[in-house]
């Protein structure tokens, strides 16, 4: 409860445009939000650009935040939306797009569903970055951030069936990439 009252006080001060409060709010959520931005970006500087734009939006529209949801969830959605707009505007560079992955993964090559638990975050990130960007964004939105297919379709301005197809394709390609990596490590 004190944390809630502290947050309310911090929000009230941010609404009064107090720089110290704004900085405190930024420091409170910037680490987690930079991690989210990093998932959608390919490099840390790109993630920083996303984070900067997202926090400018947060402070510009802070009076529109309603206490019905959590502030972290509200900021998270802003970060994701900002990352999607960066991707649409072409500001995100996909260096590995020239290396297509085989679309068809044989059933015998299916990976263990819990295989990623033994990997570090950076390793999983490297695997995900190898996916085509459309598949990657749909996978992150659906599997990690919990968006539904209808929300993804609205956010990316695509059909729901396209979103489902992209997700299926992303899973298969991720399994193939993981298999190749394991084979490479064994060799």
């Amino acid at each position: 409860m004190p944390a809630t009252s502290d947050l309310d006080d911090l929000l009230a001060r941010c609404l009064r445009r107090e720089p110290a409060a704004q900085r405190a709010l930024y420091l409170r959520y910037a680490g987690r939000m930079l991690g989210i931005a990093r998932r959608y970006a390919y490099t840390v500087p790109e993630a920083e650009d996303i984070l900067q734009d997202a926090f400018v939006k947060v402070f510009a529209h802070l009076q529109e935040f309603r206490s019905g949801g959590t502030l972290e969830g509200w900021i998270r959605r802003i970060v994701v939306t900002t990352a999607i707009s960066h991707w649409r505007s072409g500001r995100l560079r996909h260096e590995s797009e020239a290396q297509p992955v085989d679309d068809i993964t044989p059933p015998s090559m299916a990976v263990d569903a819990t295989a990623f638990e033994g990997l570090k975050v950076d390793e999983v990130l490297k695997l995900i970055e190898l996916l085509p960007h459309g598949c990657r964004v749909v996978l992150l939105l659906y599997a990690v951030d919990g968006y539904s297919h209808s929300e993804i379709a609205e956010l990316l301005r695509i059909q729901e069936s396209t979103s489902k197809a992209q997700l299926s394709k992303a899973r298969k390609q991720l399994a193939e990439l993981y298999k190749r990596q394991n084979d490479y490590i064994r060799l």
């Binding site: 445009r17 900085r23 910037a30 900067q52 402070f59 299916a110 990976v111 996978l139 599997a143």
Partner: protein
């Protein structure tokens, strides 16, 4: 990987990997510098639109516009521009002899006075006009009897122009004493009194002022557009809704 349960497990493992993934903001100071620089140029936050006042404001505007629209009951009042027609109903059907205003009158003379039944005219003046009739003073009562009928008619016409007496009574009136002849109900011969047009023309100026005053008192409540009228209507509407 086509099994939905396996897909769910894969998604769950991805969520677990990224659950606690964060990057320390202190390692990226330029981000906050950029944010602080950009939010400093943002315009001051406005109070926002007061949605709670939207409904009362809309109601007030609606009532105000409705009040500005022409009212159906205001049209007859505006059409009643001719004051004579409006004044006519106030006139009595017959003008009785104001006995109280008569000076000391001889009873025998009164009995000898012919019964000059006054004929009501449609253009008779309102009852207040009788205040203009002044009884003849004692000095006038002592005036010599030798008044010709024309002079007497002129005096009486000025007194009660509405009352018309038959012609045969005029001659009898001349034989009466002066104080009787000055009685207000006795008037000039009929041929000297124009029936309606002369009555209109002989209306004193004070009568017109009265008519104008009456028009104002009738129309004033309809044309009042003050805040009092608005409150009256508003509370009437509220009372109607509550009932």
């Amino acid at each position: 990987m086509s099994n939905p349960s396996e897909d769910n497990l894969l998604d769950q493992s991805l969520r677990d990997v990224f659950r606690d993934y964060d990057l320390p903001p202190d390692a990226h100071p330029r981000v906050w510098e950029g944010v602080a620089e950009r939010i400093a140029t943002l315009p001051a936050p406005s109070a926002g639109f007061p949605y709670r006042l939207l409904l009362p404001f809309t109601a007030a505007v609606g009532i105000g516009l409705g009040w500005l629209l022409p009212h159906p009951e205001a049209q007859p009042a505006s059409q009643a521009a001719a004051p004579v027609v409006q004044v006519a109903p106030y006139a009595p059907a017959a003008v009785p002899a104001p006995a109280a205003q008569l000076p000391a009158m001889d009873v025998s003379a009164v009995e000898a006075q012919p019964t000059a039944e006054p004929v009501a005219q449609p253009q008779q003046a309102p009852r207040k006009r009788r205040a203009d009739v002044r009884p003849i003073s004692a000095a006038q009562s002592a005036a010599p009897v030798g008044l010709d009928s024309a002079g007497l008619a002129a005096v009486q016409t000025a007194l009660t122009p509405e009352v018309v007496v038959p012609t045969e009574t005029a001659s009898a009136t001349t034989s009466l004493p002066v104080h009787i002849a000055a009685a207000p109900q006795v008037s000039a011969p009929a041929q000297q009194l124009a029936p309606s047009a002369s009555a209109k023309t002989q209306k004193p100026a004070g009568n017109n002022e009265k008519i104008g005053y009456r028009k104002l008192t009738q129309r004033q409540p309809e044309n009042r557009r003050g805040i009092g009228r608005w409150f009256t209507r508003f509370f009437q509407g509220v009372r109607h809704l509550l009932s």
